[in-house]
């Protein structure tokens, strides 16, 4: 931990005869924030995510051409250069502008799916971890069964069955990520339920719902936050994969990273690499950015 000398003075000054000079909660938060803001992985992660969030919110600010129309006066498959920074694709559309516009769908779908998974996963994890017993046995086995099948296979089957619309894709990924979150939350709840404050709550006749929601939940929020950030990375990855396989939930001409990779990768052998590599890099950087942020938040919370 790095802190300035002034900070130590305040810690020492606050100690009196009875209170132990363990840093106050505010202080701990402050130190954690300081640690976070100084961590290189958090800074890099924030810059990457910042760029993509900006692209998602106001693509018009960043784009250079209409992403759906071919750039006038520029031939298709023009390599990266002054006019079109990242080149043009086989239909003559600007790759850079398509990548910028492609951020929005994925930045809506991935967090939405993660929120669904986090909500139900946390709920399931809390209840199974607290009550245990045969309900827990059954639910845990079902969750493990889902986890044992590759997520992408299940996703393809479900999306195929219900149609490749954005709500279906979000719902599918949300559903598929429930088990992993539920399992982590269940483990944390199990450990928490062993502690005596839970017994004390039972002894004063608290209802189970109160114990789970008000006593245990605040103590496992950190676990949930970390798990959610990790899942967010996976959700982006899964969404891009589904789009690559043609299950994008939009029109075939809409800018979409996974779709663009799928439509252009065959040309890589003809040395037209740019329409494939730039959207692929976009997927990669977004996932890495999320993971960098997740790791540094985790580290700061643990410190």
């Amino acid at each position: 931990m790095t802190t300035t000398p002034e900070n130590i003075e305040t810690v020492a000054a606050e100690s009196d005869d009875r209170a132990v000079a363990v840093a106050t909660r505010k202080q701990v938060r402050k130190e954690q924030r300081r640690l976070l803001f100084r961590s290189p992985s958090f800074i890099i992660g924030t810059i990457i995510i910042g760029f993509w969030v900006l692209s998602g919110l106001w693509p018009e600010l960043l784009d250079r051409f209409d992403p759906k129309a071919s750039v006038p006066g520029v031939s298709p498959r023009t390599p990266p250069g002054d006019g079109t920074w990242w080149g043009t694709d086989r239909l003559g559309r600007d790759v850079y502008s398509r990548v910028v516009h492609g951020a929005r769908p994925i930045l809506i779908a991935a967090p939405a799916a993660t929120v669904i998974a986090a909500f139900f996963g946390t709920l399931l994890g809390l209840f199974t971890g607290y009550f245990r017993g045969w309900v827990d046995e059954i639910i845990s086995r079902i969750l493990e069964a889902i986890l044992s099948i590759p997520a992408i296979l299940l996703a393809i089957v479900i999306v195929f069955t219900f149609g490749a619309t954005t709500p279906v894709i979000i719902g599918t990924i949300g559903f598929l990520f429930i088990p992993a979150i539920a399992r982590t939350v269940r483990a944390a709840t199990l450990a928490e339920a062993q502690l005596d404050y839970v017994t004390a709550a039972q002894m004063r006749g608290e209802r189970s719902l109160f114990i789970i929601g008000r006593e245990i939940f605040p103590n496992i929020v950190g676990v949930v936050i970390v798990e959610v950030t990790v899942r967010l990375g996976y959700a982006i990855f899964t969404l891009a994969t589904l789009a690559f396989l043609g299950l994008s939930g939009g029109n075939a001409t809409d800018p979409n990273w996974g779709l663009d990779v799928a439509q252009n990768y065959q040309q890589v052998v003809a040395e037209v690499w740019w329409p494939t590599v730039f959207p692929a890099l976009a997927i990669g950087t977004l996932v890495i950015g999320v993971n960098l942020m997740a790791d540094s938040i985790d580290e700061a919370l643990k410190s």
């Binding site: 130590i8 017994t199 006593e215």
Partner: protein, 681 residues
């Protein structure tokens, strides 16, 4: 700083002016502020003090066994004439392998759970250069040396298959593998039962003469130090404030801190009806606090202007006994704890009764009867002390009374004669209010994301039915009664010290003005001085509001101080129950006799220990006849192993579950017990 009176050349361990600091958030913070002492070969030296005073740090520094943020800032450490502070990392490794050993507090964490005991013990011989074959042979011998029954069998077992006491023996065997010059024991018996503790201490005492190593024993239990050590150093805030032989220091303390420590434990059979325990005011200074003069000045009852202006000199009291104090002659002026003036009334009506309660846990591997036919009752304002080894069912009884476990059909828990619902969730508010609990570990017992205010307000509103501002006002009032100040109310548990946390836990239990409070070892995690404050608080609350306590503990001194009656449990059964003063006169159950004899005394009373053979039996397969016959030193062959003894009333309110008639038992217990059996090998 001057050298201590012992000559350096004869010492196996010699520490001089040791200064050590931890880097915390970028600043070095002093922990040891000039520690000097010597331990001769074959001598046992004890270090005592409150937690945070630097005693463990001294031990670890002696082996240069420090975390990455630990810095030795000055002074010398010499072991067998070699300077530890000057060693290269290779020399240090060689030194630790061959010349120094350490035994840690928790044996479970000191061994590798996935390796067999044999492998681990042999490894400690391989490290010092023995071949694999020799090491195996030596491992076997090493286990024999620490008196482990069936060494062949133990070598083939994994750590989880051994009890804590056995594991600590294994750890000691490993520590002795290299025939070390220096053996450091860091709270070696703190996590163990009193009976097991006594056995481990016996072993160390026996080995002491054999090995000739310098032993440095760290303990916060003054009784352990008194019975184990030749000399003792009293540590405070990173400095030794008094040193001498254990007899000199404990019988004739010359530093106000030593006096404070000794007055804070119940001694010489003191009772709550006589006087309070002494609680040293204030807290230990934080690490890194500047302490330019006397380290103890802020808490010292004798402090004068001189104390805060000048560093106290070392004052010799007798040969080898010195104190670091300006006023050793005024030591008698240290005030004694307050005498208790108000009478302590125990009512006659039974408030809460436990009638024939049994509890069987149904597990996949079979039924486990954890409680068998327990009968106990509490009068108003009475304290019932519940003692027994771990695994005897004390906590199960507590949790069954509170409705966490549901007792088997047939028994009843009554509140003023009326049976209560068996599960807490089904109990009426009145029944829940009537009985509450204080847990052993306040860290676990308090919700760490709640503020003190919220913890108490919730308890008040749940137990009394008050709500909103009323509940909060009462919570504040209760907090004040527990000597918590307003600024503590908005803190969360991690910001409070151990003693303050336990006060919050007690406040929560008292939120609804309960009739009975179950306290499960509420002071075992606390320092003696803090323990004194908590025990005083409990006794005071009892005088004021006439609450009854079920006080679960393994500390006989504490039980004797606080309890009006004592119940002794063994394998889920009550073996003896009776008034405290009567129990200490006898006759008593042989199990109680063994328990009492296992307690190391601070007063240097003659020891007459009755060894308890083997482990407490599992409640799953209780021995036939009297459950205690397998370990009883007064067993009657043919009777005790076949017939379960009845509960015999010896005198009014004093019952013993034993086949031996009480008068015979009394005669037997007048003569000191001599162990005629062949020692276990």
């Amino acid at each position: 700083m001057t050298a201590s009176p012992t000559a350096t050349d004869t010492a196996a361990l010699s520490i001089r002016d040791l200064e050590m600091a931890y880097m915390v958030r970028g600043t070095p913070r002093a922990v040891l502020r000039g520690v000097s002492f010597d331990v001769r070969a074959g001598e046992a030296y004890g270090l005592v003090g409150e937690s945070g005073c630097g005693k463990s740090t001294t031990a670890y520094t002696a082996l240069r066994y420090l975390p990455s943020n630990g810095l030795i800032q000055g002074g010398t450490i010499s072991v067998g004439g070699r300077e530890v502070t000057a060693m290269s990392s290779k020399e240090l490794r060689e030194f630790r392998a061959n010349h120094a050993s350490m035994v840690y507090q928790d044996p479970v964490q000191a061994v590798n759970p996935v390796l067999k005991i044999g492998r681990q013990v042999a490894e400690s011989f391989e490290v010092i250069g023995h071949s694999k074959g020799e090491a195996k042979e030596l491992a076997h011998k090493a286990l024999q040396r620490v008196h482990i029954a069936d060494p062949e069998g133990v070598l083939e077992r994994y750590p989880h298959q051994l009890s804590g006491g056995m594991l600590q023996r294994v750890v000691i065997a490993m520590a002795l593998a290299s025939d070390p010059l220096l053996l450091v024991l860091d709270e070696p018996t703190t996590g163990l039962d009193a009976t097991v503790e006594a056995e481990v201490l016996d072993l160390v005492r026996e080995l002491r003469d054999e090995i000739g190593a310098a032993i440095l024993l760290i303990a916060h239990n003054l009784g352990v130090i008194r019975t184990m050590c030749d000399r003792v150093g009293i540590m405070y805030a990173g400095r030794i404030v008094e040193e001498g032989t254990v007899e000199d220091v404990f019988d004739n303390p010359s530093h106000p801190y030593t006096v404070g420590l000794l007055n804070s434990i119940p001694r010489h059979g003191a009772r709550k009806t006589d006087r309070e325990l002494f609680s040293i005011p204030g807290n230990l200074p934080q690490i890194g606090d500047p302490l330019p003069t006397c380290v103890y000045v802020a808490r010292c009852p004798l402090a004068t202007d001189k104390c805060s202006a000048e560093v106290p000199p070392i004052v010799a009291r007798s040969d080898g006994h010195w104190t670091r104090c300006h006023h050793p002659d005024r030591i008698d002026e240290v005030p004694l704890p307050d005498e208790v003036s108000t009478a302590h009334n125990v009512g006659t009506e039974e408030v809460i009764g436990v009638h024939g309660v049994s509890k069987t846990f149904h597990q996949r591997s079979g039924d486990v009867p954890a409680l068998v036919g327990v009968d106990l009752g509490f009068a108003e304002g009475e304290t019932l002390g519940l003692v027994g080894e771990s695994g005897s069912g004390k906590s199960t009884l507590a949790k069954t009374m509170l409705g966490v476990h549901e007792p088997d059909e047939g028994g009843a828990i009554t509140l003023r004669g009326r049976p209560m619902a068996t599960k807490s969730i089904d109990r009426e508010t009145e029944s829940i209010r009537a009985i509450q609990m204080v847990f052993q570990n306040p860290d676990s017992a308090l919700n760490r994301s709640w503020t003190v205010r919220r913890i108490l307000t919730r308890a008040v509103s749940k137990l009394t039915g008050k709500s909103g501002d009323d509940a909060e006002a009462q919570a504040v009032q209760i907090a004040h009664a527990m000597q918590l100040s307003d600024r503590h109310l908005d803190m969360r548990p991690r910001q409070l010290s151990g003693g303050l946390k336990q006060r919050v836990a007690i406040a929560r239990a008292f939120a609804g003005d309960p009739d009975v409070v179950v306290a499960d070892e509420p002071t075992s995690a606390l320092d003696v001085s803090v323990q004194a404050a908590i025990l005083n608080l409990l006794a005071e609350l009892q005088r004021d509001v006439r609450t009854s306590y079920l006080f679960i503990t393994h500390d006989i001194g504490v039980v004797r101080y606080l309890a009006d009656r004592i119940a002794v449990m063994y394998v889920g059964r009550v073996m003896e129950v009776g008034p405290t003063d009567v129990m200490f006169e006898g006759p008593i159950h042989p199990y109680t006799e063994a328990l009492l004899s296992a307690v190391p005394s601070v007063d240097g009373e003659a020891e007459n220990r009755i060894p308890l053979k083997g482990e407490i039996p599992s409640p799953k397969n209780p021995p036939p006849g009297c459950v205690f016959h397998t370990r009883c030193h007064r067993v009657i062959e043919g009777t005790c192993d076949k017939i379960e003894p009845p509960m015999v009333e010896v005198s009014l309110g004093h019952s013993i579950k034993c086949h031996i008639p009480p008068d015979e038992l009394l005669e037997m217990q007048k003569v000191p017990w001599v162990d005629h059996s062949v020692p276990e090998l």
